[in-house]
Symmetry: C2
Subunit: 87 residues, 2 copies
Amino acid sequence: MNAFRVEVRVMPRAALLDPQGQAVEHALQALGFGEVGRVRIGKHLVLELKAASRAEALARARVMCDRLLANPVTEDYEVAVDGEASR
Amino acid sequence: MNAFRVEVRVMPRAALLDPQGQAVEHALQALGFGEVGRVRIGKHLVLELKAASRAEALARARVMCDRLLANPVTEDYEVAVDGEASR
């Protein structure tokens, strides 16, 4: 088994409202950052994971996203296996 | 002025507790993902920004992080200017 560092990005779908992003957009404009347009906010997760291979780490992380980490109705996710430390 | 897409990642500092990450770590293990070790959760922001240059977009985004987007006591951030669409 090797230890992998998996990076997961979960973002609200482009077509959906993102109230957190809109709040930050308005706050930035109120602070004088008039050059800011649309703001979208999602989550970034870093998971330490044991797996036999990089491909298995990626596959398991995708299952975790489908089952818990992302809401399939409202969010999209991307998974990257970032670093590899053999064990 | 050009339009830039700026990506900002805000993560809890490594030395600090991350209760949201711990909650997800325990939930994943309870769901049978025993291979999961430490989980850290932060924010990922995507900002559309007008600026004269890529360097200016980066500099302005860093000021936004310092003033609003990240908590300097508890969080670290990274900024990347991702794509460029001239206008």
